[in-house]
Every structure is written in C-alpha cells, then in structure tokens.
C-alpha cells in the first residue's frame, strides 16, 4: 500500500514493522519527529516496546548497548551534535558487536550553530566500526531500516541508516508501506548467541589485555587486538551478507537491486558523478539535461559507505574518463572523505591498467546552502570539459 508521508515517518514505520523492543532517544532537530512518532506508537499500544526517554544522546546509546546486550532489538536516532556527543558509546557499540540500528538524520555540526542539512555528522563517524547506509528517497529509508536489522543481527555489527535532514526527513512523498506479514517473514525475532541474564551475572568488555590469555574456563581467550581484527574482518565480510540481505528482500518484497551502488545512465558514460544520499537523485536531473546536449555522463549513488564496496565501485568506474565526486562533508585539511576513498579504491584495483579515471571533488550544500539544479548541471558540464583549478571546489560559495 502506498502512503504519502515524510521521511521521518518512513523511518518510524520501518522501526515499528521490525518490532523493535527498546527505543531510547533524545530529541534533536531534524530527528525529533521520528522519535516522537515512535513514542506515540508505544504510548497507544500499536507498538509493544519499551520507550526510554533519556537525558542525552550518550545515555541513549548506553541504554541501547545494555538492551542489546540483554537480547533486545534496540533502536535509536539522532543528528549532528547529538551524534557527536554519543561518539564514545558509538565506538563502544561496535567494539561490543551489538546489532543496534540507528537512524542518523543528517545535519550540519556546530560551530556555528546550524540545524540544516549536510553530512558532516555521519561522515565524522566513518571509522567507528559501524556499517553505514545512505538513502536517496523514502522507499530507501523504510526498506533500509528493515534490511539493517536483519543484516546487523546476522553479522553482530551495528548499522547507521543515514538520510538527509529536512530534504528527506521533512519532505512528503509517496512510498510503499510493506506488509507486516512480509516483514515478519523477512526478519525473524532477534535471538542472540549470548544475552545477559540475571540468573547468570557476567561482566562484558572489561579490561582486555594486550596479549591473549587463558580464561576462567581454561580456554585461550582473544586479546584486544584479536577482537579488533575480527571486527575489521567481519565488517569486510558483511559486504557479501548485505548482498544476501538484498536478495532475500527482493524475493519477498519484489524490489531491490545492487545493495552497494545505484548507477544511472552509467553504462556508456565517459564521466560519472558520484555522491551519497538525495543529492545523487537531484544529479539525475542534471545528467538528463546534459545527455540532451550530447554529453555522455551518468551518476552513481553510493548506498553502502562502510564497509566500502571498493571492488564494485572500481568495476563500475574502470575505463571512464572522469569521476566527479559531490560531497556535503569533508575531511577538513584535505578533501572530501568520499573522494579520498574513491581514489584509494581506483588505485587499488586499476593502477597500472591504463584505465584509471581522473577524479575531481566538489563540496556542496554545507549547512543547508541551497543546491540549485542548474548550478549542479553547470558544474558537471564544466567538469566533463576540463580539470578544475582548485580541489576541492566549493559550489555556491558567495565570497
């Protein structure tokens, strides 16, 4: 059944369909309507879950860590400075291998204070050991939340489902609301291999020594380094599990495709624009306009940012003349994080083949600065014609 709602409602409905057991959240614009909706579902009895209002984002994640450790399906959501305040617990959740799902409703970080959209908040959490998915419309938001719980619980790694604040969170558009029966068929109840139990008290993730040791059962226990190595290995292996999630989802719901990337008019393109989130759909309009002028250009949205699907991306970009990266965030002091990641993937897979494309980097929409489609089209046209002078180049700057 199709409904017309905003992006926050799409996320909340997804969490409800997934029968999350515990929700702990602290309100922050533009995430607030999402957690308000969930609290209403719990209050009205539509959703049988524990809603725990906390005094901060740090506590929200702490509650999710405790709930997930006890075997509950846990959810939270935040934005911007809320996510930054949560950062210590974000790292902890990944190290503890807890399958928490969190929506990050992308917003600029302070200072100066700003409530509008860019993606600096979630990009700054790139290296925390979480899986990161990015959404371009409401269908992707609700579907990603459902896939995220399945995948997180399969690989015991937490997942951020990221979507653009206001542009998606507060904008209304139609999307298909999946049937509860189908979601239940896709997502079985959470049954962790180990869960805290009052009958058998235990301490989790206490001081773990630099070296391995014999534990109380007389078995060789991992040291810190082994535990962290396994997080990396299993994050990399989760790429294949994500493909399995997408296949299962497609079988049940009849929609899906490539879980990592979303190419548009890329097959015969000489130049490909790359980005994350709703900007990649706006770029489709620019691509269509430039195709009418005879410029062979396409756009590729990256749906899965961590673990980075480097091989799939390099395969899609090999032999192209140019890759034009548009980002709403940057690694201050260098360039956009995605641009660096792309160059690394291209070098790794294509160096020496003579098929390495030129990579150019543009920064746009910082702090909610309006991104005009005509400006995107002009930038894209210029980037296909000659190399930009200074990288990264900021679009729409008024200096």
């Amino acid at each position: 059944m199709h409904i017309i709602e905003d992006g926050n409602a799409a996320a909340a409905l997804g969490v409800k369909l997934c029968r999350a057991n515990v929700i702990a959240a602290y309100p922050i614009t533009p995430q607030t309507p999402l957690t308000e909706k969930l609290s209403e579902y719990v209050e009205s009895g539509e959703m049988k879950a524990e809603y725990i209002p906390v005094e901060s984002e740090h506590s929200a994640m702490a509650v999710c860590i405790a709930a997930s450790s006890a075997g509950a399906r846990a959810f939270t959501a935040t934005s911007a400075n809320g996510l930054l305040y949560m950062h210590e617990q974000v790292q902890w959740a990944a190290g503890a291998r807890l399958p928490i799902v969190m929506c990050v409703v992308n917003r600029a970080v302070g200072a100066p204070w700003n409530v509008w959209n860019d993606q600096q908040d979630s990009i700054s959490q790139r290296d925390t050991g979480w899986i990161q998915m990015y959404c371009a419309d409401h269908q992707q938001i609700i579907d990603s939340v459902i896939k995220a719980f399945w995948l997180a619980e399969k690989v015991s790694i937490p997942i951020m489902v990221c979507y653009d604040g206001f542009l998606l969170s507060h904008t209304f558009m139609p999307f298909d609301l999946p049937d509860q029966e189908k979601v239940d068929a896709f997502l079985p109840p959470f049954r962790p291999a180990y869960a805290l139990n009052p009958d058998e008290p235990a301490s989790l993730n206490t001081v773990t020594l630099p070296d391995v040791r014999i534990d109380v059962h007389g078995e060789l226990a991992h040291g810190y380094m082994e535990i962290r190595y396994l997080l990396q290995e299993e994050l990399r292996a989760s790429l294949a599990v994500a493909a399995e999630a997408d296949k299962r989802f497609t079988e049940i719901f009849g929609r899906g495709g490539d879980p990592y990337i979303e190419p548009y008019r890329c097959d015969d393109a000489d130049h490909i624009a790359v980005g994350l989130g709703s900007l990649t759909y706006q770029l489709r309009v620019s691509v269509d306009a430039l195709r009418k002028e005879g410029i062979k250009v396409g756009v590729m949205g990256i749906r899965f940012y961590r673990p980075f699907p480097d091989e799939a991306i390099a395969n899609a970009l090999k032999g192209k003349k140019g890759v034009i990266v548009f980002e709403k965030a940057l690694s201050y002091g260098y360039e956009g994080a995605l641009a660096s990641d792309l160059k690394s993937a291209l070098y790794e897979h294509l160096a020496g083949t003579g098929r390495l494309p030129l990579v150019q980097n543009f920064i746009a929409g910082i702090g909610g600065r309006e991104i005009r489609t005509d400006d995107l089209t002009q930038t894209l046209r210029a980037a296909t014609q000659s190399r930009i002078a200074k990288e990264p180049t900021w679009i729409g700057l008024k200096l």
């Binding site: 542009l167 139609p174 706006q282 489709r284 991104i371």
Partner: protein
Amino acid sequence: MNKEFIEIRWHGRGGQGAITAAKIVAGAAFAEGYAGVVMAPTFGTERRGAPVMTSLKISRTKIYDLSPIETPDIVVVLDHLLLKEADVTHGLKPGGIIVLNTPMAFESYHFKNFKLATADITAISVEAGLPHGMVNTGIIGSLEKATKLLGIDILIKGIEEEFRTRKPEKNSLAAKIAYERTVAGG
C-alpha cells in the same frame, strides 16, 4: 498549463495549515495517477503567525529533484495581507495562476500577466461551521475552481480522509462552497 509537471507554491502563516492543505492535494494527485508528488515545507524558522511557504511538485513520473520551486505555475495565498509582506508572485510563470483568500472584491486587484482567482475563504469557512481562521480546506475548493487540476470530488474525498476525526463534513463543505463562489479571471 502543462499538466505533466505542475509546481504549486503555497504562502500562509505558521499555524494556518498550508502544509496540511498541500498534503491533501498531494494525496489526491497521487490517487489520480500522478506517480511523482513531492511536498517540501521551507525549513527551520517557522513560528505561529510568521509568513511560511510550502512547495508542491506534481508529476506524471517520479520526481528526483527535491530543490525548492523557482518558477511555479500556481501560487496559493491563504491570507491576503501576505501580499504586503512577501513577494508571492516571485518567479510565477507568465500566465500563472494566483489563488487568493481575501475579503476584498476581485476587481480591486490588478496583477499583470497572471490569472487571479479570489474567494473570501475566511467567511466561507465560518459559514461552513469551522472556527474563525481555519482556511486550509476551503482554499482547496478555490484552487480546483481556478485550475481544474484534479476534479473537486477526489479533493473532497481527500479532505474528509485527512479530517476524518476532526469535523470532516464541515471541512469538505467549506471546500464545496469555496468551489462554487470563487471568482476566477480568464
């Protein structure tokens, strides 16, 4: 007007319900077979009484561009006093339509290059039994009369669904009366 892709900008005041009105029209358009409907409020600093805007794009195909409307086909103005506070015709296409809630006579306005439609929605809504100042359902009747966009029946259905727990008949009656009484220029 090109009915494949239509852009409507709504001007109201915070609390007047412009977003709800646009959402009702969006739902009706989707039900009528427009696969793409995107309704985006302007974000950030809304407060009661202050001028607010909402963009509604309607398309036969999925909409990928979420950027604000620059050249609307139609502007809907929920309060005639906004004409003094905001440039409501900014970017309006030549021959574009202005739908205006006003107690003043149609003849008292002179918009060059645009088509005007007026009705006293504030009075009509009271007549329909709604509290004073509730104008967001009545204005939908005027919009339909001025544009012949979707047909009044599907809009009435949408209003009654949206307000199913809050005086659905009075809200739809306001739209029906407004549809009858709207004065639209050629």
